[in-house]
Assembly symmetry: C2
Homo-oligomer: 196 residues x 2
DNA sequence: CCTACCGATCGGTAGG
DNA sequence: CCTACCGATCGGTAGG
C-alpha cells in the first residue's frame, strides 16, 4: 500500500523548475500556480511534494552554500603550496560552482533575503564564514609577501564581489568553457594582487 | 482653486521611500499599501502622485541610467590623456555613481526585469550601450599597448561586473569615503591590466 | 495527484 | 488626500 515511485525525481524536478523561475522573475514574483503549470501539475498537488514555497528556496540556498564550502575546502587543503596558489584554486573553485548551475547561483546570491527567520540569519552567518575563508587567504598571502595590497580585507571583499556578478553575464553555451572562464578570471584578478 | 504646493517634494519622497523598499525587499514583494504607510498616506492617495507602481520603478531605473551615462561622458572626454587614464576615470566615475545612492543603484542593477515591455527592452539596450563604452576603452588601451589582456571584451565585461557587486557590501557610513573606495577599486582592478 | 475552496492581500479606481 | 470598494490572484488546506 501507499505510493513510493517517482517521489524523489518529482521533487527534484519541482526544485529545478522553481529555481529557474526564481532566477528569471524573482522569488516573490513567482507563484505556486505558475510553478505547477511549468511542472505539469495542479497547484494544490505541489504540496504533496513540497511543504511550502519557502521550503524550496531554503533548499536551493543552503544546498549551494554546501557546494561552495566543499569546493573551497577541496581547493585549499594545504599541500605545502604557496598561499597565492591556494587562493588561485579557491577562485577557480568558486567560479566552477557558479558556472555549474547559474540559475541556482543567482537564487543563492539574490533571493536569500526572502527566507524568513531564523533561516535568513543562519544563511548570512554561513556567507560571512565563507568570506572569512577568502579573507584569511589574502591576509596570509600578504603577510608572506606573495601578494601586495593596501588592505587585505578590502581586497578579499572586492575579489569575491568580482566573481559574484558572473551569473549575470555567463552563458553556458558561450565559447569559453567553465574552466577557461575560471582561469581567465583568476588571472585577471590576481594580476593586480601578485607582485610584478 | 486647485492644489499646487508640495506636489514635487511628495513625489520625490514617494520615489525615495519606494527605492529603499524595493532595495530591501524587491519590487514584487513591496506593496503599495506598505509604501503608503511608510510615507504617511492611505493606499489610494498614492495614485494622486504616481500613475502606478511600475512608473516609480521606471523613473528610478532610467534616472540612474542617465547618471551613469553623464558620469562616463564627463570622465572620458579626451584631454589627450592616455587611454588607461581615461579608463581609470571611468571606473572611478562608475563607482561614484554607485556610492552616491546605493539603494537606487541596487534597484537599477537588479529590479529592472520587473519593467514591462517595451521599457524593459529599452533599458537593456541602454545597458548594452554603456557596457560598449567600457569595452571600447579597454580595446583602445590594448591596441595602444597600455593594457595587456588576452580578450578585451571579456576583460571589460568582468571589469564592470567587478564594480557592480559594490552596492551589496558598501556602507555609506564605513571608514572609506566614496573617493577612496573608487580609487582603491580602480587600483586593484587596473593593476591586473596595466603592464608591469 | 485532483477538485474545490479558504482568508488574505494585491494594484488600482470612483467619487468626493 | 480619504473612504470604500473592485476583480484578480496569492499561498495553502481539506477531503478524497
Amino acid at each position: 500500500m501507499s505510493v513510493a515511485a517517482p517521489l524523489r525525481s518529482r521533487k527534484a524536478q519541482i526544485d529545478g523548475t522553481a529555481t529557474a523561475l526564481f532566477r528569471a522573475q524573482g522569488f516573490a514574483a513567482t507563484s505556486m500556480r505558475e510553478l505547477a503549470l511549468a511542472v505539469g501539475l495542479e497547484a494544490g498537488s505541489l504540496y504533496s511534494h513540497v511543504r511550502s514555497k519557502e521550503e524550496i528556496l531554503h533548499r536551493v540556498c543552503f544546498g549551494l552554500a554546501e557546494d561552495f564550502f566543499a569546493a573551497f575546502a577541496a581547493a585549499t587543503t594545504d599541500d605545502g603550496q604557496p598561499v597565492a596558489q591556494r587562493l588561485r584554486q579557491a577562485i577557480e573553485a568558486h567560479v566552477r560552482v557558479l558556472t555549474q548551475d547559474v540559475a541556482a547561483s543567482t537564487v543563492f546570491l539574490h533571493e536569500w533575503r526572502h527566507l524568513s527567520e531564523p533561516a535568513r540569519t543562519e544563511f548570512v552567518t554561513l556567507r560571512d564564514r565563507y568570506e572569512a575563508g577568502f579573507r584569511a587567504l589574502v591576509q596570509q598571502g600578504t603577510a608572506a609577501g606573495e601578494l601586495h595590497c593596501p588592505d587585505p580585507a578590502f581586497a578579499a571583499l572586492t575579489l569575491l564581489a568580482s566573481l559574484n556578478w558572473l551569473p549575470t553575464w555567463y552563458r553556458p553555451d558561450g565559447k569559453l568553457t567553465p574552466d577557461e572562464v575560471a582561469h581567465r578570471l583568476a588571472e585577471q584578478l590576481l594580476g593586480g594582487l601578485l607582485f610584478q
